[in-house]
Symmetry: D2
């Protein structure tokens, strides 16, 4: 397996990293099938290190949610499918989570403005116990509880089409700031290629996150990252899709939340109809009885929902695997890579 | 245990059953602690029996979503908490699911009107295999797949306050048409009592249902129902809550869907703060990392979302059980009742 | 012209008046064509008389938004159109407007809950100068400005169908708390009759109100009211409609606001297609260039929007008047009644 | 007055023009105070000329909504206010309006997807009578009506901050595709400068448009355009603002529509508080009684609403003009320019 090792510049609040999908040139070129070994900085560029580092006091000209990348994937043509399998995620340092003024689902906010004063600004520090694979929530009172780690990448995507450059804070058709806990180790993400080379970028690691990312931040942390990046020449999905060993997922990112729900469910109807040969009304009926609707984020500039279905419930109906079985292939190679590293 | 056995009048499309919460007198009075053995009719009043019974041809003056009840609970005072534990649900006859004109999440609809013609109207019949505990989806092509049964009650609630009478098609603070798969055997539902006697009613059994009830109907069927009904004198929740052995859930029912999300999550912040002694900002932070956000329905006159948290994640923080531990008590009695019936 | 004179019981916070559409019997029976001379109390039942009467301190068991009526209209059958022409509105006493906790468009609220503390609760008193036809806004600083009076009824409707009883705080298909400034003198409102006798009720007078009723209250005041009530046997509109000398309006009441917009615009497409003989796509095209979209309220349990079109723009296309020309007839009789009273 | 005359390249569907705000270099540099004489192409790049030119058959790689510009304004610094006064708009050629598949407010659409087939695709051609200042709507049946011209620019804005490049189809803080009929002759638009030189661009002329642009297109046409472009060094507004002789307007662009409403109204509360010295609660109260809420578009990737207030209602309270009176200055110079051209 070809391997690319690359490290982001974490100096000065990661100010040298891009804050957009699109509008920036690649940091490296990789071939399809490459194992990409790299790191991500946290969404604050590492600038919050203690409860006194309030988000509102960060430099206003900092890069919000700095990205690792973009990577040019050799041979990726407009319309292709980029497949990115998450091989390894390991939190580094410590985690932070914060409220900050006028951001979050349970406060007046930039896009749902109110006349109320903002909520108090607070920073929570989360220590990691990587052996126990837990992190500790500590309340103001000192009460605490250990939570299982469940690392994920909040942000992953490609350059958007039509000359747009979109903030790394926004999720959409190009991926971006989806903030779904489903983007964890073992998951393959599919993106439509919009520009030659695709220009894959990612970041915003969370040690864990609830559905909705309600206060506006997960347990934000730098992350060791290993990805397997591959290319499928079948037509890429309009909206990003995810696949695990057991489930297929579509995504939709917009507001209001019911429209994100509609996009994801409608995409899943089309996908399942295609895989099974059911007509769309039959697929709609079947999914009405078996689909899940996991909430990703309800705080970003677009809200993101997933629609999911267990492969086992399609088993008898769907003989062929999605995207030519690339998930199974990548999963096998990820296991191999992991075994070799452990040996 | 006191037992009340009552059967709805299923003749003539169940036209004699109520179609509202509020505005109707009780069919029976029960004491707190009663085992209520009864049945529910399906949301069509049993009028759809074959693929030719199109919903649009049903009698326009029929009762939509007819209810079993209401039951007057002796001693229930305004402000109390009604606790209803689901002991037993068993689908009867066959299941039906349909598209129908201008209803559902993936079509122009009554409240999201479009100029497009309606989707084709179709009826799917689901046979039950109660031994295998499965039901069979059959596509128009004859392709089919067996799905696990997961029976639930789509509708349960009490009379609303302030003299309102609300259609059994609508979910809200009084409960009603929540359409959440979480209202299954083993779950305790909590409702605030708004009128003396509470006036509990329920119906709309589904043999199973996906998150969102996307096409507008689950696998609708009549249901054998056993409930344990109890009363807690602590103040009832503004919005209905659910408890299982492992999880606590709040609900919110409104539109747009992000407001249903906000209501449920905000309720859970308050509940968890109360149970743990955390201040609300700490509870907000903790839940941002551990809460779930299950979607109930995105098709009814209000959309319903749940917010959930595993009790084990609160374990160290929350010494006391919710509502005085009534769920555990009812769960124990339900097990006893089930064992005695099996013996 | 038959005349009915009726006065509401204003004692004790108007606690004897209904707070729902539906669920209450008529206070009087009138024949079609009746001039109804009556009064309305304000939405607080007259309980706020000074800046010290904070809304949060009002008796919790008071009737919110008490209604005048309901009136049984002789001969009104289910499916008919009730036409109500506003002949005369005259503010009485003084006006009040308030913020109150967790209500309004620019604050966290009951259905858009936040963790922020509520806005400060304040009461503004508005004196009326009925000769100058103005009312005075006075700021906390003493700065003030005189505003033109533009009296309206915030609430008007009929009993809903299917046994529902709906709070007078909610707008919907039955009318109710539409809170549109267009319901002023000179306007005819059309409602579908849902129960025999229609059961017309109304209230919630505002001396004037901005579009959206943003803080949650207009300039609330008791009102002298004269209405002309008539009956048209053509099928009533699914959603209430309004007509003035110059314009036709449809309404839609739901959330999110774009769905209220869609309902109103879709209703107008259908109405204009019916009046002009255009097919619906042509009506959609024409209205896309000429329709207005006045906002009524963005604070109530449903949001209300209107869709409007100037009759003059339909002139060449629409030979016949709406609802058999009942607006012109009532307008003429209203002028006659006003002239006779002045003489 | 300095004058800049510039003409867009209309060849080949205006493919040489930009389709984004940001991400493109300036076509010319102008000094503050310049009279900018130019033209805009229509949103289809002139490619629809007859009812047979269906939008779905346009080249997929065309530029949607091509812009005139961007223009670098000498001396414009980040944070300044760019003031753009509309001096002259004159429709050219003919107007076109269309339905097209899965776009518009009354159809399933890209962001509100449904399973229904799209509406029929139709093109309406509008002839202009510039002497009578009317345009003719012609229905499929041949029925027709003449409508007053009311030319506007659907799209105007500056480069966004933070390295973003946003499609000319989207409205937001940088302006863009606001699609408000208020951007007509006599209006001054204010934008915050986000990059040195501001990079003003505009296009999407409509001969007239209803509130909401419901079918997705106004009467689209190329336009002769004269603008007066000026610079104010006071801090620019976060969201674009508009001023006419009689009214002040703020804008908000997002979804759901109530959030666009909230943004615009909240911005107006702040603006009026600043101009009058009222505290924000007093400004909120006053505006609740006098503000308007004009709908711009309910079809684009963000929905746009305005909040407005008549200056006369603030008269006694607001001694000073907005932005140092730049609107009055530009209005005077526009009159002078128009008089000189007529002479």
């Amino acid at each position: 397996m070809p391997v690319c090792t690359w490290a982001p510049d974490e100096r000065d609040g990661a100010r040298g990293l891009p804050g957009t999908f699109g509008g920036v040139g690649p940091v490296a070129t990789i071939t399809p099938g490459t194992v990409l070994r790299t790191r991500t900085v946290d969404c604050f560029g590492g600038l919050i290190r203690s409860p006194d580092d309030l988000p509102s006091r960060l430099p206003p000209d900092r890069v919000s949610n700095p990205l690792t990348g973009p990577f040019h994937v050799e041979g990726a043509q407009v319309g292709d499918t980029l497949a990115v399998h998450v091989v390894h995620l390991r939190p580094r340092g410590q985690g932070v989570s914060t409220t900050f003024p006028h951001f979050g689902a349970l406060t007046g906010s930039y896009f749902t403005p109110t006349l109320n004063p903002p909520l108090p600004e607070r920073v929570w520090i989360y220590e990691f116990d990587l052996d126990a694979w837990t992190t500790r929530f500590v309340a103001g009172s000192g009460a605490h509880v250990d939570l299982p780690l469940d690392p994920m990448l909040g942000t992953m995507g490609v350059a958007p089409p039509n000359g747009e450059a979109r903030s790394s804070l926004t999720p959409g058709e190009w991926g971006g700031n989806l903030d779904t806990p489903t983007l964890r180790v073992g998951t393959t993400a599919y993106f439509r290629v919009n520009v030659p080379g695709a220009l894959l970028a990612f970041g915003d690691g969370h040690a864990r996150q609830g559905e909705g990312e309600t206060c506006g931040t997960g347990i934000e942390c730098p992350m060791d990252v290993v990805l397997l990046v591959d290319l499928v020449t079948s037509p890429g999905p309009v909206w990003p899709r995810l696949e695990t060993d057991d489930e297929l997922f579509t995504t939709g990112s917009t507001k209001p939340l019911e429209d994100a729900f509609r996009i994801a469910q409608r995409e899943l109807v089309g996908w399942v109809a295609g895989l099974t040969g059911l007509d769309e009304l039959d697929a709609y009926q079947l999914l009405s009885q078996v689909a899940t609707a996991p909430v990703a984020n309800v705080v970003d500039t677009n809200y993101t929902m997933l629609a999911g279905v267990r492969k086992s419930l399609l088993g008898a109906l769907a003989p062929a695997a999605a995207y030519g079985g690339v998930h199974e292939t990548l999963r096998g190679r990820a296991h191999q890579w992991t075994r070799e590293r452990a040996a």
